[in-house]
Point group: C2
Chain length 305, copies 2
């Protein structure tokens, strides 16, 4: 299955009717990862016909209200709907205290296990992996501790050509080994090179989420060449000094950063409520980086196209 992101909220701190605060659903074959969870995120998930119970991991970049306020509602609803699977949340220090106070005061008993991992926003670490994907944190430059998240698919097994199985009578126990790169030797001792039996697997896909941050001066190794970079561009470049002051980026800066990191595609988001129309964001960014689009609530982007 192709990895994709669904934009749940493309707005910044001041809410607007057309743009929910931050939230993105990264959909893989095995599950959905939620990245940031502004107020109303659970309603956006419902509106765009996704499942909140499919979310097993949530990644919060930082503890500004527009990035985490929807979390308690999401957790409550998962509980109301009878969730039993664990939910893991990755977030900077402080989130656990806020959630615990609300659970205590509202007398909420969750029938599932809530595991809150504290993300150290001062360094880049691999913070999660499952059989398909690894997730890395990366320090951003915002007013408060803030972490980017980078999702990288693991290298996939090679694809065994079905006709070869019958043609060479490849036994079941050998098939996974061949998918992992082994050659095959038949009963007569004849060797079949792996590349004659298999096709290249799909290239691992990668996605980086950068919000909120003053644009970084250095291109981090961890996002070098990623397929899709979602980068905040709260402002257009004529408001560069405001961006600087509020620890945000402009469309131009995000595009220059995309060039530096040699990413394949750039999606801009986290737009200030002062902008109704977003054409200027694309115009500004595409002067230096061609493959750019703007986020819009409800829009889906495939990670690699």
């Amino acid at each position: 299955m192709a990895l994709s992101i669904l934009i749940l909220g493309s707005g910044a701190a001041t809410p607007s009717v057309n743009r929910n605060p931050s939230g993105i659903l990264l959909k893989s074959e095995s599950s959905s990862f939620l990245i940031d969870c502004g107020e109303g995120t659970q309603l956006q998930i419902r509106k765009y016909k996704e499942s909140i119970q499919r979310i097993d991991q949530v990644f919060i970049t930082h503890l500004h209200a527009d990035h985490y306020l929807g979390l308690f509602g999401l957790i409550s609803t998962q509980g109301l709907l009878g969730r039993e699977r664990d939910l893991e949340i990755f977030a900077p220090k402080g989130l656990k205290e806020m959630i615990d106070v609300q659970l205590k005061i509202t007398n909420t008993y969750l029938c599932f296990k809530l595991i809150i991992h504290e993300v150290d926003c001062s360094q880049s670490l691999m913070i999660f992996e499952n059989k398909d994907i690894q997730v890395f944190s990366y320090p951003l430059n915002h007013k408060i501790p803030c972490s980017a998240y980078v999702f990288k698919e693991k290298i996939k097994p090679r694809n065994l050509i079905p006709s070869k199985i019958t043609e060479l009578k490849i036994p079941v126990y050998m098939r996974n080994k061949i998918k992992m790169g082994e050659d095959f030797i038949d009963d007569s001792g004849k060797i079949y090179a792996n590349r004659t039996l298999t096709l290249d697997p799909q290239k691992p896909q990668s996605f980086a989420y950068f919000s909120d941050t003053k644009v970084l001066t250095k291109a981090p190794d961890v996002i070098q060449g990623v397929d899709l970079l979602y980068h905040e561009s709260t402002f257009l470049h004529d408001m560069q000094s405001r961006a600087e002051k509020t620890y945000h980026s402009t469309a131009l800066q995000a595009a220059e950063f995309a060039v530096k990191c040699e990413v394949k595609k750039l999606v801009l988001g986290h737009f200030s409520a002062r902008y109704n129309e977003l054409t200027d964001f694309v115009l500004e960014a595409s002067k230096v980086f061609a493959n750019v689009e703007v986020a819009k609530d409800g829009k889906q982007f495939f990670i690699s196209e």
Copy 2:
């Protein structure tokens, strides 16, 4: 100005796309009162083109997530937009701790004064008044401490007939006294009875908000004869046992209660997400109480018609 309510959320705990969680804006001449503030309430206020800065008092019935989760977002946005006037919140014990933890951890500095009043949910008290309105609490019967709120306009001054001012040369200093019921004596000593000089003022309007509760068996004096009662009806009456178990009411029960309290009009709300269509709520309730309507997000009801 006629008092009115604007429905911001007519849904119950499990969110649905068409119904936001609880929230109502009571609009008077001088300000707007917000009653309950479920997740997304600030966006609903914006969607229906009301002002969040006009809200100076918020009344929270109880600390279930669908009734208070939008509060921190609302407060944050009021701050972001440069609010300077005080904001008063009336809520059961515990809300202050939740807000304080979030303000502390998110390092939020508010440029206005936030005053949180703890409402004692075990008794009926006058908890607020301004020059126009008094607000009373009333204990509801829910799983956790929960308070109804009753808004009553004060008696208004009588309307001085403009032509009488010139005809009898009523001096400025006497006019307010006459509006408050005094007779007028002219320079010759002739007495003009107040009722020949004034017209009856508009009758004070009253509104009661009952959510969430098992239907009360006794009709409280404080809501006797109110113009409009908003009463939760999470379920239809065929789910009476579920209503009982979850400390909620049915449409029929709400209507019977409206009869007991001799209210003028009943608006039903807080509908379970299992109901798409609400016609049956009106049908069921109108068997015992004719003047009934169902709440719908974005719909406005005048308190007295």
